[in-house]
């Protein structure tokens, strides 16, 4: 019964979405306030309907109702509760319902927090949101209904892929979708602005917090996914340039660019049509990711069960959404009023430079991801594009961007003084060069890769450049320390947000460089009692015991690890065999230190008292996670900025302020 209520609620949601997509739009066109006003209540109704459907499916998962096909295929009564809940979005149908639910939550949030929006813009944005909802509701109802029944119900479910039974992955999809779907807000505002034919500073001020929220969720989601891959796949790698990873990385790049170009629109009323384009592209990449993962056009380790009908439907959806918006863009964008002019060497110029590099970066990732498909379609043969392509094309694009990231925030708006800025950065520059040289010497010159020194130098440059900017703002060492601290406490939170996020990226770069350049690994058949030394850590295999988990049996190795003759830790990696479905999974044992992770994996038994073991030292990997956390924290701090909380001022006041700023 409850499943049927869920199904019915979804149909009702479709009806509501159809109304929400049409009536307010017509109302806005005709200036009919009552019709426009319908958007808000419709968004609330939409949320209630979708919420009921989501709750119904969640109920089926939590109570292990195996008469629901989706639950029977993806859950099992023995699973811990966390994974029963997470099982909902561990499959195609359920994750699609999560997608739609998040879309409805964002619609509700826009209604709740959008009180100060002009009614026309609000009505149009909500209507565009509803159009997206219509597409996805049709998709789920016609091709991917999660509420199908199974008669007779099986005794127990098939279980969730054991690789997915992990806390990191339980929360990875919700964050990722909050990011993907979050970009629909910027998209809806962009389309609404194109329909209105007006983009101004106030518009940017409304779009920014939503973009920021989407960006920080997506950052969090990508980091969680990467962290999960790092500790469960058992190879010590954290990024594989897999199509699905790229699918989440492309919207991140476009979203990051959008975040920065929206600043230029807000502060300087420039780069408008570019910002609109980025808003469309960021959401377009989110849709593209959904298509790539669910259609089976590319091979990937995490593709969902694929079905050509679904692929065709979502392709149609993608083309309708993007084709429609790009056409609207081609018609309307040329007539957008050009905003403030600026010299190439200015804060706007630096932001644009980064934007172009970021967009080019996203383009190369797109090309690399789709190339196997393109080559196959043109009969150029089956190819796979892997890390070598991305490393040699994408990374060189990012290096100048990082260089500019330290300079940009110090440049003034409109016309900057590069010589003056470089003067203030001379300490950072000297330290970065010295740091790179020190790294070069420490790794034994060309015994290590040349890019290791470059990467560490860049990380140092970015970190010190960011700190220099902060010091400049609070006039550190020029005023007494107390006054500087007072200035620091009065800085706008968005300034702190930038410092934290840029500093976080510096840590991420350092971690990525070090872990790629100086990883130590050793794979061997190890006898009980035998000691293997990796990067100064001596791993003695003392025992391999059979242990039992809630829904798996495992072999657990016990390593006594010592460093320089002193005991360091006892590590217990496991090789698990899940009961349902019967599949193996590795559980690496990881001990983090400031300098890196000590990482041990137990493989198969190779003989009597002999096991295959893989032992690693992954330098500075914890820096990457710390850096990602700082970036998310920076996003949160910036989101809590007073400007966003008190809401955007009326358009007229914003225009007056902009005029005053220009004068």
């Amino acid at each position: 019964m409850i499943a049927e209520i869920g199904h019915f609620a979804l149909i009702l949601a479709l009806a509501v979405a159809l109304v929400q997509a049409s009536v307010p739009l017509i109302g806005a066109q005709r200036g009919n306030a009552a019709w426009m006003g319908l958007a808000g209540p419709a968004a609330v109704a939409q949320f209630l309907c979708v919420g009921i459907a989501f709750a119904a499916l969640m109920h089926a998962y939590v109570t292990s109702d195996f008469s629901v096909l989706n639950v029977a295929q993806n859950s099992h009564s023995l699973k811990p509760m966390l994974y029963k809940v997470a099982g909902l979005w561990g499959n195609h149908e359920g994750s699609l319902l999560l997608w739609i639910t998040i879309l409805a939550v964002f619609g509700l949030a826009l209604t709740a927090f959008g009180g100060n929006l002009p009614p026309g813009l609000k009505a149009r944005a909500l209507a565009v949101q509803a159009m997206i909802a219509v597409g996805f509701l049709l998709f789920i109802l016609f091709t991917s209904n999660p509420f199908l029944r199974l008669d007779p119900p099986p005794m127990d479910g098939n279980g969730l892929n054991p690789m997915l039974q992990d806390p990191g992955l339980a929360f990875h999809p919700p964050f990722l979708y909050l990011g993907y779907v979050g970009f629909s807000m910027a998209f809806s505002f962009a389309i609404a602005a194109l329909i209105e034919g007006r983009v101004d500073a106030a518009w940017a001020r409304w779009v920014r917090p939503w973009t920021l929220a989407a960006w920080l969720f997506l950052t969090c989601g990508i980091a969680l996914g990467s962290w999960w891959a790092y500790y469960t796949l058992g190879w010590g790698g954290w990024w594989y340039w897999d199509p699905v990873e790229n699918a989440s990385f492309m919207p991140w790049l476009a979203g990051t660019a959008l975040l920065h170009s929206a600043v230029v629109v807000e502060k300087r009323d420039a780069l408008k049509s570019w910002t609109i384009l980025l808003a469309i592209v960021a959401f377009g990449f989110s849709l593209l990711g959904t298509f790539l993962v669910r259609s089976g056009v590319l091979t990937s380790v995490h593709a969902f069960a694929t079905d050509p009908a679904r692929g065709a439907f979502i392709l149609l959806l993608l083309l309708a959404v993007l084709g429609g918006s790009f056409t609207l863009y081609a018609v309307r964008a040329p007539s957008l009023k050009l905003g403030g002019l600026f010299a190439p060497l200015s804060r706007e110029g630096a932001l644009l430079f980064n934007n172009v590099l970021m967009a080019t970066g996203a383009g190369t990732v797109l090309l690399g991801t789709l190339y196997p498909l393109i080559a196959d379609a043109l009969n150029l043969g089956k190819v796979s594009v892997g890390a070598p392509f991305f490393n040699s094309v994408f990374l060189p694009l990012m290096a100048p961007m990082v260089v500019a990231m330290a300079i940009g925030p110090l440049l003034s708006w409109k016309r900057g003084d590069l010589a003056g800025v470089l003067g203030r950065l001379k300490f950072a520059l000297a330290a970065a060069v010295a740091g790179a040289a020190a790294v070069w010497v420490a790794q034994g010159g060309s015994a290590g890769p040349w890019w290791a020194a470059a990467g560490m130098g860049l990380a140092l440059w970015l970190l010190l450049g960011t700190l220099t900017e902060l010091a400049e703002r609070v006039r550190l060492f020029r005023l007494p320390l107390g006054q500087s601290l007072q200035r620091a406490s009065h800085l706008p939170r968005s300034a702190w947000g930038m410092t934290l996020a840029h500093g976080g990226l510096a840590l991420v770069i350092a971690g990525m460089t070090a872990s790629s350049a100086w990883k130590s690994e050793s794979v061997q058949n190890q006898k009980l009692g035998e000691t293997v030394t990796v990067a100064g850590y001596a791993f003695t295999l003392t025992a391999v015991n059979a242990v039992k988990g809630p829904n798996y049996d495992a072999q657990q190795a016990v390593f006594q690890v010592s460093k320089d003759g002193r005991p360091f830790a006892e590590m217990r990696p496991e090789k698990r065999i899940f009961i349902m479905p019967p599949r193996p999974a590795t559980d690496a044992a990881i001990r983090g230190t400031l300098l890196g992770d000590v990482y041990a994996v137990l493989g198969d038994q190779a003989g009597d008292g002999v096991w295959v073991t893989r032992l690693y030292f992954n330098p500075m990997v914890p820096w990457m996670w710390a850096g990602a956390a700082l970036m998310v924290l920076g996003g949160l701090v910036s989101l809590s900025d007073r400007r966003h909380r008190i809401g955007a001022p009326a358009r007229a006041r914003a225009a007056a302020a902009a005029a005053a700023a220009k004068a």
Binding site: F291, S295, V297, Y329, G603, D604, R614
Partner: protein
Amino acid sequence: MRRLLYLLPVLVLGVLALFFMKGLEMDPHEIPSVLLNTPAPAINLAALPGHDHGLTTDDLKGRVSVVDIFGSWCVSCAQEHPTLLAIKETGIVPIYGIDWRDDPVKGAEWLKKNGDPYERVGLDPAPGHASVDFGVTGAPESFIVDKGGIIRWKHIGPITPEVWETELLPKIRELQK
């Protein structure tokens, strides 16, 4: 001219759409086995330290043989190793090894430590072109080559006793007739 620039996004989307539509009809998982039923590629591989012979194309002619791609770095290769040793015991078919993308010293040590099931071993150091000529996609991978030196079968992944009994042995028996 400026208007054309604004049309660019929709044009790019159009081109991508064509590829996506084609993509839906194709299966990316299907890996072509174009090299089946073609002569084994010409190879002349060096011997590992402490071994007398390398591996050449001529070694693969005259009788049915198995060519096994392995490496000391490859974890699944250690997994299939006991099965290979057992096959050698039976004397049914000679197994030739290609030590792929490996350090010669490590490769030789690995064989010393785990036992050597191979009739002859050739070293194919990184980037491993000889193995790629065989059509290798990863290690371990094994090929059955007939008396005339033609590749007749390819197995991807470790050889387990089941794979040997059900997949490889019947094929070898048939070719040995």
